[in-house]
């Protein structure tokens, strides 16, 4: 699937997507997905044959941003989605849709304390038991930057 085709199909499926300069940011399609949509987004990607590249988080104010990246084996089409984490600190798991997300989600729980609702085994993966609540990649107060400061303020609000 070409990236232009992927954008059209994403829009049809009810997600916001735009084309970005691959030489500038290193992926082809930027998707804007709400926290409630992550499962349907993952199901859509799986049906279209995308594989999971990675899943992580970035600590920014006012809230943590979740990053999902997918790519395709047959076509150069890399999709990156940023999802603001709801205030509850929990987001739906996609580990039953993409089994590869299982470890990425456990790692994100280790490093950021994000809770993945419905995950079958959300126990520490990388950190040891004593450090399981260390959340080493959360920024200290004062070091945490706002979305404007890290260049993420221009994203349109989801309708």
């Amino acid at each position: 699937m070409k990236s232009s085709e992927a954008i059209l199909k994403l829009m049809e499926a009810g997600f916001q997507a735009e084309s970005v300069d691959v030489n500038g940011v290193g992926y082809h399609v930027r998707a804007h997905v709400d926290a409630e949509q992550v499962r349907s987004f993952a199901q859509w990607l799986l049906a279209q044959g995308f594989f999971i590249d990675f899943l992580t988080a970035v600590d920014a104010s006012p809230r943590i941003q979740m990053i999902y990246q997918f790519a395709h084996y047959d076509h150069p089409c890399r999709i990156n989605a940023r999802v603001p984490l709801p205030d509850s600190g929990a987001i739906d798991t996609i580990s039953d849709i993409y089994q590869g997300a299982d470890w990425h989600e456990r790692e994100t729980r280790d490093f950021f304390g994000v809770h993945f609702s419905g995950h079958h085994n959300l126990v520490p993966l990388i950190l040891c038991d004593e450090d399981k609540d260390l959340k080493p990649l959360l920024k200290k107060e004062g070091d945490r930057k706002s979305l404007e400061e890290i260049g993420w303020a221009d994203v349109p609000a989801a309708d």
């Binding site: 691959v22 030489n23 500038g24 940011v25 290193g26 992926y27 799986l46 044959g49 995308f50 594989f51 999971i52 590249d53 990675f54 992580t56 970035v58 600590d59 990053i67 990246q69 790519a71 084996y73 047959d74 076509h75 150069p76 890399r78 990156n80 993409y98 089994q99 590869g100 299982d102 470890w103 490093f111 520490p124 993966l125 990388i126 950190l127 040891c128 080493p136 990649l137 930057k145 400061e149 890290i150 260049g151 993420w152």
Partner: protein
Amino acid sequence: MATKLERMAGSKHRFLLNMGPQHPSTHGVLRVVLEMDGEYAMELDPVLGYGHRMHEKMAEVRPTSGFYPNTARMDYLGAILFSHGYVGLLERMAGVEVPERAEYIRVITAELNRISSHLVGIGAYVLDLGAFTPILYAFDDREKILDILEAITGSRLTYCYFRAGGVSRDIDDTFIRRTREFIDRMRNRMPMYHDLVTDNIIFLKRTKEIGLIDRDMAIRYGLTGPVLRGSGIAYDVRKSEPYSIYDRFDFEIPTGENGDSFDRYLVRMEEIVQSLRIIEQALDALPDGPVMAKTKKIKLPAGECNYTVEAARGSLSYYLVGDGSDTPYRLKIRVPSYANLSPLPELCRGILLSDLVTAMGSLDLVIPEIDR
């Protein structure tokens, strides 16, 4: 005939077995908890993190140049390939133009490193299966690469040779002569490897039909690299999203047919041949000129950037969020072995312990890369 002990245990004699953290076939500090039924592994639970050093946090507390040595210490067998991704990311973000000669040198050294990584992968794999001789031959060939790279980079394993804007030192005629000699040598050695390993009946019996991976499983787990290509899917970042100057070279993506352990081994063997082709073309076309761009101190603009390269074990992505300073606000490193190990419980459920060693070895894991 059932022994006295077996009669006592009856039909319920499942037990837990720790494979690792210090086990010769995990090639690193990886522990796999197995629920065994006799010699069969019924459930598997990999335990990670023994070698965790928090590279991603280290990246957040030092200027970008301070992180060059870290990249080599994740995948110690393919260190140059890991550096390639990192410098590529910085160059893309800061808009640095790399001199032509430096790009060629990068491709040559990166492909040499890929060959040396595959040689260890293959040698150690066959050693896991009980054949001691091939690893000695593989290390002999690998030693030639280490010598070539040591002369130019100053180290034998954890290279810190690439810089944002080029490479730290130019190559000389000796490097070119020795690399050409190595290409000839390696091409002559390939039939010997095939005689010794590929056609070996014991090796075939041990690896054929073991650890089958299909497209569906690959997508669900995000498998990449030779592990994926063994299943017949020709996905290689060098071709699908060409970076550096890989679009200028004529090479093929070897793929397997059945997606078993044997095919993954064969793909690595074929990739050595393809890498030799790339190196030869790059040496023929090597231009003159500087090897380092005149760069000011790298400043990362606010915003995000991703850079994906083909490391020895698969797709490697660096994802950086900048805040306008010279220190990354967040650096995520997506390493190939992490995804390639994750299907292990599904891949090996219900197989013999000895076949588990076969299947796990065919994934060519580097544990410090997984733990980061």
